[in-house]
Amino acid sequence: MIGFALRRGAESLLLLLGALLLVFLMVRLTGDPVSLILPMDAPMAQREAFRQTMGLNEPLYRQLAGFIGGALHGDLGQSLRFRQDNLELIWQRLPATVELALAALLFAVLVAVPLGVLGGMNPGSLADRMARGVGLLGQTIPSFWLGMLLILLFAVELRWLPSFGRDSLASLVLPAIALGFSGMGQLVRLTRSVVLEVRSSDFIRTAYSKGLRASGVSFRHILPNVAIPIISVLGIQFTYLLGGSIYIEVVFAWPGLGTLLEGAIRDSDFPLVQAMTIFIAFIAISIHYLTDLCYSLIDPRIRTG
């Protein structure tokens, strides 16, 4: 177990270093960072001064060492627009995004798991057809469009819920549904197919042949085995929602990481964009690592494979 944790930990650390290198190279190799950051009409003197302060005149390997060294110490540079530490800005906005992503995940799980289980247990039934329909819809409706439709219906027409901002629990409802919708589709598909697979496995046939009643088999044997793969994808779903929240936050003017990133892109605040990419990659890699650890605790077969 400890060997597995260490091995996967080392892999995760390598991935993180790779992500840092990737971000660094993307900015440096696709052109002059100065022209990305400063306005087009900036005078030469200002460009030169900027190069000096950013250390862009130093050799590339020195810049890379400084960049990675800083990142590993938690220094992700300064925002051009806010004149503030990038990491501080990110920490301020993080709770709103985590709240939104968790609410979206909750919505997705609450709808998808019961529907997927019902559908998988009764193939061909109404519930099954609904599960397949929801699974398909999740793949065909863009989240940010759904968000705008929800605003038009529930905020403008019916006036039930607020359409933007983060004031009360009510303002969380619409963005959470819009964000969770496509994840819900994926979860329904997954749950349904896992239930179908477990139902037809040998140990279930054995349970029936021992004379157990159908309800006993469902609750004692099928559902626990369905739960494991579903729990294991929740962590990954969460990182997926962090990315998807960028669009939803823009639609609903939600004060989280997404609107921060959108603003940084609009103002060409490149240091902030870079810092946010690294931060989000770090979170995603950590969550994958933790998911793998949890999974290997539940299912020992993973550790050796």
Partner: protein, 308 residues
């Protein structure tokens, strides 16, 4: 590996998931299509969108950038104030919405088709090399794959698009490169699985080399699932392109793309809601068509499905 990143896991689930009772005997594709309502609907929808894109200039009475300020902000026909000259209404420049939606199909289809083609070319090549030759090749290629997959996809795409700047070529290149890991992983995994099978071992035992085994034995077995996977990736790519356009990072803003139109629709959501509703509907209908077609392709093309 358990911590399989959601996009790859989803891709695999989509390709390998078969409904109960699937697995008809081998016969012609078209004859199979006839009995499948979803497949027919999907094919028709996709065909309509393709025709829209190809014949846009013949189908529309206006040019894509032809505006008339005298007829700006007209709502759709069935809303009060609508005019029959503009079925779905106009935007603040007086440009006809339906015309722009028809032209927008060009951007979506071009980006998703060429993007997937590029991703497929990169992915299958690298996946075959990693899976077939293994060793050092595999370490490098898998490292690259894991690295690209470690950053949440939407964030990766947004950052690269910011650096590259908005242009059609850049968007296609961007999707081609960033989507390739899905195909690399899939191809590599399938090659590793196929290599263990008796017919490959037999070919190897008879003295066949890589140049015979890869094109004659591996590629034909990969083609079906890869086409299915490419179909689903195409529908996902239409979403990603629209998302980039929504943030102003896809094609330049004056080009009529569904994403750019949605970005405009968001700005005028409360006053001219039709500007947001109909471009999104076009995306949803296209994605529905491609997904239905993909579901049907998966059930029909997968060699393992038809062997059972």
């Amino acid at each position: 590996m358990v911590g399989e990143h959601s996009r790859v896991a989803r891709a695999k689930a989509l390709v390998h998931q078969r409904p109960v009772g699937a697995g008809m005997g081998g016969s012609m594709l078209l004859r199979r299509l006839r009995g499948n309502v979803g497949g027919v609907l999907g094919a028709v929808l996709v065909l309509v969108v393709v025709l829209m894109a190809v014949f846009a200039s013949y189908l529309t009475p206006y040019g894509p950038a032809e505006g008339n300020l005298m007829s700006a902000r007209i709502p759709p026909l069935w809303v009060e104030g609508g005019r029959s000259a503009h079925l779905l209404g106009t935007d603040q420049l007086g440009q006809d919405l339906l015309t722009r939606i028809v032209y927008g199909a060009r951007v979506s289809l071009l980006v998703s088709f060429l993007g997937v083609l590029l991703a497929l070319a990169i992915g299958v090549t690298l996946g075959l090399i990693a899976g077939y030759f293994g060793g050092w090749w595999d370490t490098v290629i898998s490292g690259y794959t894991n690295l690209l997959l470690s950053i949440p996809y939407l964030v990766l795409v947004i950052v690269v698009a910011t650096i590259l700047g908005p242009s059609l070529t850049n968007v296609i290149l961007l999707f081609g490169v960033t989507c390739s890991p899905v195909f690399i992983r899939f191809t590599r995994g399938e090659v590793l699985r196929l290599k263990e099978q008796a017919f490959i071992e037999a070919a190897y035992g008879l003295g066949a080399g890589a140049w015979r085994i890869i094109p004659r034995h591996l590629l034909p077995n990969l083609a079906g699932p890869l086409i299915t996977l490419a179909t689903f990736e195409m529908s996902a790519m239409i979403f990603y392109e629209a998302g980039l356009g929504f943030l102003g990072l896809s094609v330049p803003p004056e080009v009529p793309s569904w994403g750019n139109m949605l970005a405009l629709g968001r700005q005028h959501l409360l006053t001219q809601p039709w500007l947001a509703i109909y471009p999104g509907l076009a995306i949803a209908i296209t994605a529905l068509g491609i997904n239905l077609l993909g579901d049907w392709l998966r059930d029909t093309l997968d060699p393992r499905a038809s062997r059972r």
